[in-house]
């Protein structure tokens, strides 16, 4: 282990706890407290990955979530491997295994690197321009593009980890545990507000917690010393909850925020066992204080992407926090004072600083003077024109800037360096603010977009450097002032705080730094992950792109996993400069959630597998299971689909069940059909208005089939409704439509017809329904309910009886969906399974056959009965279904009536329901298949499609229902159903195939 790059640092790194890890197979060591990035750097490893397009070697550039380059694959277990993890964020644990991504065969020698040599041929929009033609080649191109693109590899097996969701309500949420967030949390919680403080790091304190510099003091102490004490103090406050390793992902309206808490990602695999991996917090806060800080900007110059080139602030954190020297001969390149803080940190740790290159003419601020005392060479008014070093920076070449900054002059100076810190100023992290609907304003002094106080949604503020305060003095004084006003606090412990800092006096900004070479010969990278350069942006502008959103998509600037946290401002700056626009007017691209990527696991939480959705089971479900039923999902219901016997196929089972139901007796669990109890003095009038047919004259104890339309005249639902009493009905609906029908009826009652005295109650779950059908159904019923007179005179078709089974009340309807003589027993669900078993016993001698939904569908198709949702699709009127008989033409009104004679609904070339018979009776049509008349037509005219199709065992031939243009007129005509390898000849028929005279109903 290269100990020479480690300095003693006991505060944040536990040097007594050595951890081993592997990077690309090589065993290395780090310490508890390291990130993967700091551990790699301590091992003198900068080269971590390859860039996306040119496969250029790339190193660790930052120390946080903005990292564009150091993206690794963690682990290689097929179910646990984690792609696109930022090495700067993942905490080191014993046994961590990481791999470079986007390179082959390895990161040091990558075949894809040839793209770098070809880069003059790969400009912005290369893929759009090149792979357009010939169109038929796309599939071939796609194969290669997909293989050469992409970052990490997804896991190939299901994720065994547990994820969790948590709802949280608080008075004040503070996002960010830097110095301003700590102050805000103390002020808030100290004033009786239930407060939640979140920070994405494992330790609170932001960048101040390791700021140990004589130029910056609070109450005469170093800022880190002061802040440490504050953090110790706030941990004692009762109504303050602190969550570290928790990153705010999204900020929605009404102060609804989502945060992801990492619970085990920093633990070794052994320590993770049995624990929840991540938790998604769903937070409602009365007030939100955003203190998300700022990110340092890179500088854009030729070859600014080599491993070893890092943000100056990152170099500072690696030395001050992790105790890791990022190089032995470090240079700094800056346009502001921040790099001088890094210089002092390095100097204190004994790192040699080659030089500081500053594009400004001079600066005489306190911190610059402090640096000058250390005899560090500062090249004022200079810029870097080139860098060298393939896998690690080795040299920089610098030249003097011309007075206007647009070119370089003088002699080129070449300096040897193994690490270059760059500092281009600071970008406030306003992502959350804009996600919440806030609007930004532009501050031209230092080219930053800031929250506009006049366009901030209520109940939130931004404080600290995300609000544009970069000087520690401004941060502390303003945070105190703003939080006091926001929370209505009179006196704050920070009112008389004494802060000393080094005021930055000089600023200079050049978005694209000049080189001695023409721009076409340079590589000034903007977006390091997506390899888009300043050249690409300029090309896009030349090609006519104007909107920032378009330039972004065309050049892919800002579209990597870092979402342009580093690159966006420069892209904007270069666009503004090139087009002569004001940056403030240009605006930014939209910041969309999440701020940092979320795992799918965290998003779905526990709603996986059987918890994905509710499952509804009928009272007889266990009986179906015991009798080997296969189940079908109908909405949330599990319905018995068919009951295969002795390894029968579905087809064979359905054929057997269908025959048995018509020849002797079948039994069906119909409990899932929706049941709505309707009561009130206006119940009959209500039914008149919601169904197409008339209801007032329906006698008590009688049943009637009803068709319900939407206001647009299209069939919505159907079912049988029974009149139980003068003012009491029970309506049945389709299984899938039950909830929607109830909602629709409630809607009309509450909004259009509040004068009606009607009460609706869903009783779907309360009653279970057993349907017994077939010529022997009568015999079964008389055994189960011997007291009931079931003669045709007393109990005719479409009527209902109250009865009792073993003393338990039940409702028996004589209704039929199969065309057979059949009964439905409705009984309280607790007793349903017993009654079902009674029926099965009673039917032993009659070969009583349980049948599922598939047989039910077949039997009703033989009779030409529709299933709403299968034979209808929201575009069928009753007339289209050849059901004109059910329209109460004399009725004053019902839902959808007026629409039945709109110009569109009376067209006679609408699609209408027909029967279809195949010329070959053995040929079964596929549901959904198209019907055509002429085969040689181009394009062939689609006349309709098959909606239901079965082989009828009772007719011994294939039958189908279909909807066809002008179908009513087509009876007897021949058509084709073209399939992949043949054309099936069909003839249009009547929709009723079986027992046209309905004789069996009374058999």
């Amino acid at each position: 282990m290269t100990q020479e790059l480690r300095i003693n640092n006991k505060k944040f790194i536990d040097q007594t706890n050595r951890l081993s890890f592997k990077f690309n197979g090589e065993k290395l060591y780090g310490y508890k407290g390291d990130t993967l990035a700091s551990a790699l750097l301590a091992n003198n490893i900068h080269l971590v990955g390859r860039s996306f397009k040119y496969h250029r070697p790339r190193g660790i550039m930052t120390c946080g979530s903005e990292e564009p380059n150091a993206i690794v694959q963690i682990g290689n277990d097929p179910s646990l491997t984690d792609p696109n993890v930022r090495a700067t964020e993942i905490e080191l644990y014993e046994g961590l295994e990481a791999f470079s991504q986007n390179c082959w065969p390895n990161v040091k020698f990558d075949i894809g690197g040839i793209n770098n040599l070809l880069s003059p041929l790969l400009p912005a929009g290369f893929y759009y321009k090149t792979f357009m033609w010939p169109a038929s080649f796309w599939e071939k191109y796609e194969f290669f593009i997909r293989h050469s693109a992409g970052l990490g590899k997804s896991p190939t097996k299901p994720d065994p980890d547990i994820y969790d969701h948590k709802y949280y309500h608080c008075d004040v949420l503070v996002v960010g545990g830097g110095i301003s967030g700590i102050m805000a949390a103390k002020l808030s919680a100290g004033n009786n507000n239930e407060t939640l403080l979140l920070d994405d790091k494992n330790i609170l304190g932001g960048t101040t917690i390791y700021q140990n510099n004589d130029c910056f003091t609070i109450d005469d102490n170093h800022t880190n010393y002061w802040l440490e004490k504050e953090i110790k103090n706030i941990k004692k406050i009762k109504n303050l909850t602190i969550k570290t390793r928790t990153s705010l992902a999204a900020y929605h309206g009404y102060n609804y925020l989502l945060a992801k808490e990492n619970i085990t990602d920093h633990l070794s695999p052994d320590e993770r066992k049995g624990k929840i991996r991540q938790r998604l917090w769903k937070i409602r806060a009365k007030k939100v204080i955003i203190a998300t800080g700022a990110i340092e900007r890179p500088l854009i110059f030729n070859n600014n992407d080599r491993p070893g080139i890092m943000l100056s602030s990152a170099i500072k954190k690696f030395i001050d926090f992790y105790g890791v020297k990022t190089g032995k001969e470090i240079s700094l390149f800056t346009n502001n004072d921040s790099a001088y803080e890094t210089a002092i940190s390095l100097k204190k740790s004994g790192v040699n600083i080659v030089s500081i290159i500053d594009i400004r003419d001079e600066s005489s601020s306190k911190i610059v003077k402090e640096v000058e005392k250390h005899n560090i060479k500062i090249y004022w008014k200079h810029t870097i024109v080139n860098t060298e070093g393939y896998r690690r920076i080795s040299f920089i070449e610098i030249m003097q800037l011309s007075d206007d900054g647009s070119g370089v002059i003088g002699k080129k100076i070449k300096l040897k360096t193994d690490c270059l810190g760059i500092s281009g100023g600071w970008t406030p992290m306003v992502h959350l603010f804009t996600q919440s609907g806030g609007k930004l304003k532009f501050r031209s002094d230092d080219n930053v977009f800031l929250p506009d106080k006049n366009k901030t949604p209520s109940d939130q503020i931004s404080i600290g450097s995300c609000n544009g305060d970069f000087d520690i003095k401004d941060i502390i004084l303003n945070s105190n002032k703003y939080v006091k006003t926001f929370l209505g606090i009179e006196n704050s412990p920070y009112d008389n705080i004494k802060v000393e800092s080094s005021k930055e006096e000089k600023k200079k900004n050049i978005w694209l730094l000049p080189s001695d070479k023409p721009i076409g010969k340079t590589k000034p990278f903007l977006d390091f992950q997506n390899d888009s350069t300043a050249k690409d942006v300029k090309l896009a502008l030349r090609e006519g792109f104007k909107s920032i959103e378009h330039v972004k998509r065309y050049t892919t600037t800002g579209m990597g996993t870092d979402q342009g946290k580093l690159s966006n401002m420069h892209a904007l700056g270069i666009i503004a400069e090139t087009t002569g626009t004001n940056m403030g007017e240009l605006g930014t691209t939209t910041f969309r959630p999440p701020y940092t990527p979320l795992t799918f696991g965290a998003i779905v939480g526990r709603n996986v597998g059987e918890f994905f959705d509710h499952t509804r089971k009928t009272a007889m479900h266990n009986w179906h299971v015991q009798n080997k039923a296969q189940f079908e999902n109908v909405g949330q219901w599990k319905r018995a689909w068919y009951y295969p016997k002795n390894g029968e196929s579905m087809y064979d089972a359905v054929q057997r069940e269908s025959k048995a139901a018509r020849e002797s007796v079948g039994i069906l669990d119909a409990s899932t059909l929706g049941k709505i109890d309707i009561q009130g003095t206006d119940a009959s009038e209500f039914l008149n208005r919601v169904y197409t047919n008339a209801w007032s004259k329906l006698a008590i104890g009688k049943c009637r089939y009803g068709l319900m339309l939407n206001e647009d005249g299209m069939v919505y639902d159907d079912g049988v409704t029974t009149r139980l009493g003068e003012n009491h009905y029970i309506m049945t609906t389709t299984t899938g439509g039950a909830a929607n029908v109830l909602s629709k009826l409630e809607d009309y009652l509450q909004t259009e017809w509040p004068e009606l005295d009607v009460y609706l109650t869903t009783v779907t779950d309360h009653f279970s329904t057993i349907s017994i059908c077939g010529p022997n159904s009568k015999k079964i019923l008389s055994k189960v309910i011997p007291d009931l007179d079931i003669s045709d005179q007393n109990f005719p078709h479409m009527s209902f009886k109250n009865s009792k089974i073993n003393g338990i009340k039940c409702r028996v309807m004589r209704i039929s969906f199969t065309g057979e003589h059949s009964y439905e027993i409705n009984i309280q669900s607790n007793y349903a399974k017993n009654v079902w078993e009674m029926c099965m016993n009673a039917g032993k001698d009659y070969n009583i056959t349980p049948y599922g939904t598939e047989t039910m569908h077949l039997l009703r198709a033989e009779k030409g009965f529709i299933i709403t949702g299968q034979d209808t699709d929201g575009t069928m009127t009753p007339s289209d279904l050849q059901m004109d008989w059910i329209i109460g033409k004399k009725k004053f009104d019902f839902i959808g009536k007026r629409s039945l004679y709109r110009s569109d609904t009376i067209r006679d070339d609408r699609k209408q329901l027909v029967g279809l018979l195949t010329d070959d009776p053995k040929e079964i049509l596929e549901e959904g298949a198209q019907i055509v008349e002429k085969l040689d037509q181009k394009p062939v005219e689609m006349l309709g499609h098959v909606t239901s199709s079965y082989f009828s065992p009772n007719l011994n031939k294939s039958i189908a229902l279909a909807v066809m243009k002008s179908g009513k007129k087509l009876k007897g005509k021949k058509f084709f159903v073209p399939m992949e390898n043949k054309n099936i000849n069909v003839t249009v028929t009547d929709t009723v195939f079986f027992d046209k005279e309905n004789k069996r109903l009374n058999a």
Binding site: R284, Q750, T751, E752
Partner: protein
């Protein structure tokens, strides 16, 4: 995700509610007397305003009552909530 102050239950999360589109569209009392165009106006035509919109909402996972909401669609700010049949408390 906003919070709606149900006039019957109080403040609840938006996920408990379902939206029912534009409010104050009265179903014609005698649809049969309307021309195709007049009926189509009632049936199909809805405003889709950026700004203050009068909407119907249903507390579908709560009391199941319908009521009206005045919402600014540009920022989801709810200006008023009132029961069915009541006059809008703000000018329409």
């Amino acid at each position: 995700m906003f919070i709606i102050n149900c006039p019957y239950c109080g403040e609840r999360d938006q996920t408990e509610f379902s939206s029912g589109g534009e409010a104050h569209i009265v179903r014609p009392k005698q649809p049969t007397e309307l021309s195709d165009d007049e009926w189509a106006e009632f049936l199909f035509m809805r405003k889709n305003i950026k700004g203050i919109q009068f909407e119907r909402w249903n507390h579908s996972h709560g009391c199941r009552k319908w009521f009206n909401v005045v919402r600014d669609t540009s920022n989801d700010k709810i200006h008023a909530v009132y029961k069915m049949g009541e006059k809008p408390p703000v000018n329409k």
